[in-house]
């Protein structure tokens, strides 16, 4: 079966090995991206620079401000004397949040009235403002509860909500980002490398000589992607190893399962690239079309932004992206330690993508010049 697959594979392998620049980039990209994402991108925003306008100037108000600081979300950078000073600090970007304690704070609190505290947040960056909002609301609730319990003469709270953040108890960003990054890097590099594969031969004039031979379309396509399956696995191993030892990302599930499913995803990505290669006329177009397809994968798959937050049509759309399903597998296996029973639907879908895309690529490709 497919006697011409092996010569094709050998040829592609030698060419891949000789193209040091491309190979270097393919191995270098994962490392650089991992360090970049792992160190720079922290979605759990802490230590927001905060200015304080304390008009009460009482032990109670200082106690409240200390409570805000103790959440770790706010870092007091300055005390100001009036509203203009606070506004100016936020406008200039010296601070992203302001705490305003009105003059009557301690008095109202003492009389059993509702004391007000105002938190001003620069919400132009929703991500950091959300964490500040949550922290501020938390401080308010804890204080209220304390006051109410004291007023009721030390009664127990009616409900005690105990939250257990499973699978990522520290709520650490790297635990979430690194597994996702495996999928993103594979998509980014593998789609691009095979998108170039056939147009490059067309541009160099080697395709003409190749298609006057009896090689079948399937032998040609499979021979082209096979060497890059190995590259994909090396990339994945690099990211996971760095993730494990540099960023302490947990490794809960079965490695064999992870590699097995990844193999399917790698084949699907490479086939996708091949399909692009049959659509375009030159390498420049291949690059443009690849980015056009890769961007939605990164933005809508749930790598950066939670899919649950997307409008329904986009959630449906993200179902047709291989990366969406692979991310669920990655996070499932790495963080939750789940087995095949939890992820078989995703695995089936990925198999469907791999077989469908390679079939599509083979059918689109013609052994003629027009």
């Amino acid at each position: 079966m497919m006697p011409r697959f092996w010569p094709m594979f050998r040829k592609e392998f030698i060419q891949m090995k000789r193209d040091r620049l491309t190979l270097g980039i393919m191995i270098g990209i994962p490392v650089v991206q991992l360090l970049m994402f792992g160190y720079a991108i922290q979605t759990d925003v802490r230590h927001i620079p905060t200015v304080v306008l304390d008009q009460s100037r009482t032990p109670e108000s200082r106690d409240l401000i200390a409570a805000f600081e103790n959440t770790g979300s706010f870092r007091i950078v300055a005390h100001v004397d009036g509203q203009p000073g606070l506004d100016a600090a936020i406008e200039r970007g010296h601070a992203q949040a302001g705490i305003i304690v009105p003059p009557g704070y301690a008095r109202d609190l003492g009389r059993g009235l509702t004391a007000t505290v105002q938190i001003v947040i620069d919400a132009s960056d929703p991500l950091s403002s959300q964490s500040a909002l949550a922290a501020a609301a938390g401080v308010g609730q804890v204080r209220n509860l304390g006051a109410l319990t004291a007023a009721a003469g030390g009664a127990n709270a009616a409900i005690d909500v105990r939250i257990r953040p499973r699978y990522n108890p520290g709520l650490r960003s790297p635990n979430y980002i690194v597994p996702g990054l495996v999928g993103v890097i594979l998509t980014l590099t593998l789609v691009l490398v095979t998108a170039m594969a056939i147009v490059r031969e067309r541009e160099r004039g080697t395709l003409e000589q190749l298609i006057v031979t009896p090689i079948t379309k399937t032998e040609l396509m499979l021979g082209k992607i096979a060497p890059y399956i190995g590259v994909g696995i090396v990339q994945m191993t690099a990211v996971l190893t760095l993730g494990r030892f540099v960023f302490d990302v947990p490794f809960s599930g079965s490695l064999v399962l992870l590699y097995g499913v990844s193999l399917i995803f790698v084949i699907a990505s490479l086939s996708f690239g091949l399909f692009i290669s049959t659509l375009v006329q030159n390498q420049q177009q291949a690059m443009q079309v690849s980015f056009f397809f890769v961007m939605p994968n990164i933005l809508l798959s749930g790598f950066m932004f939670p899919r649950a937050a997307m409008p329904l049509p986009f959630q449906w759309f993200s179902e047709i992206l291989p990366l969406t399903h692979y991310l669920q597998v990655l996070r499932g296996i790495l963080l939750k330690g789940v087995g095949i029973r939890a992820i078989w639907p995703q695995v089936l879908i990925l198999c469907g993508f791999a077989v469908g895309l390679i079939t599509l690529a083979v059918r689109r490709f013609h052994k003629t010049l027009d």
Binding site: P7, K11, E208, L210, V212, T213, P214, T216, T368, D370
Partner: protein, 244 residues
């Protein structure tokens, strides 16, 4: 197999409104060196590409070694060797690797494959260059390597599209010697060329102009049919007529 290696009847190819080859009919006998001559744009390359299965004919038929290119294109591919105008081998592979690759693609494996490769290497005298990257070869050596890759599977029919473009005179002479050796061995060769001295070395010629067959026969007959004393006269008459 009959003595007609290539049988072309009413072969036509249109690209949109342009008719590149129009109703071409000719037969090439087994072991013949047949030249296809004509100015740029006369339809030579389009004809060869149709015969190799690289382009589908719009109309007409071509039978090669008894197989119809329209219905048995993939089987035809085992019967033909092809050299394109542009160097079509892999410049980032060595001479040996290119030969090994095409040998593998044509199903030459094991001892038989190695023997055949050695035979071709010897025939073309490229033994000293086996370890060199194809990119580093001069025009003459590239062309020999390309011929070698096209010959590995002993095709009964060879299609050579301007094989000596950009090759020095000594290398051209050697190349033509190789072509005649192959023809003596029974290989049919269809070659396009721009050089009159090469055209003179063909057994028979077809002269094309704007997709049509203008003259057919021995070099002297073709010159006479077009109305020139020599082949070169004939060619220039044609070219000037085309450009008007």
């Amino acid at each position: 197999m009959s003595d007609v290696a290539v049988d072309i009847r009413q072969l036509t190819r249109r690209f949109g409104a342009l008719t590149a080859v129009s109703g071409l009919t000719l037969q090439i006998a087994r072991g013949e060196v047949f030249g296809l001559l004509g100015p740029n744009g006369s339809g030579k390359t389009t004809t060869i590409r149709m015969l190799c299965g690289l382009l589908d004919p719009t109309d007409g038929t071509a039978i090669i070694a008894g197989l119809d290119v329209r219905t048995a294109a993939e089987r035809v591919k085992m019967q033909i060797g092809y050299m394109s105008q542009r160097f079509g081998l892999y410049e980032d592979l060595t001479v040996a690797e290119n030969l090994e690759f095409y040998g593998g693609i044509y199903g030459l494996t094991g001892r038989a494959g190695a023997d055949r490769t050695a035979e071709v290497v010897e025939f073309l005298g490229i033994a000293g260059r086996l370890g060199q990257l194809a990119a580093q070869l001069s025009g003459g050596w590239k062309q020999r390597l390309a011929l070698g890759c096209a010959l590995l599977h002993r095709p009964p029919v060879l299609f050579l599209d301007e094989p000596t473009a950009g090759v020095d005179p000594a290398a051209r002479r050697n190349f033509w010697q190789a072509i005649h050796d192959l023809a003596h061995g029974g290989t049919t060769v269809l070659v396009t060329t721009h050089y009159m001295d090469e055209a003179e070395r063909c057994d028979r010629l077809a002269m094309m102009s704007l997709g049509h067959l203008i003259a057919l026969g021995s070099p002297a007959e073709v010159a006479a049919q077009v109305g020139g004393k020599t082949l070169e006269d004939a060619f220039i008459i044609l070219q000037e007529r085309d450009e008007r």
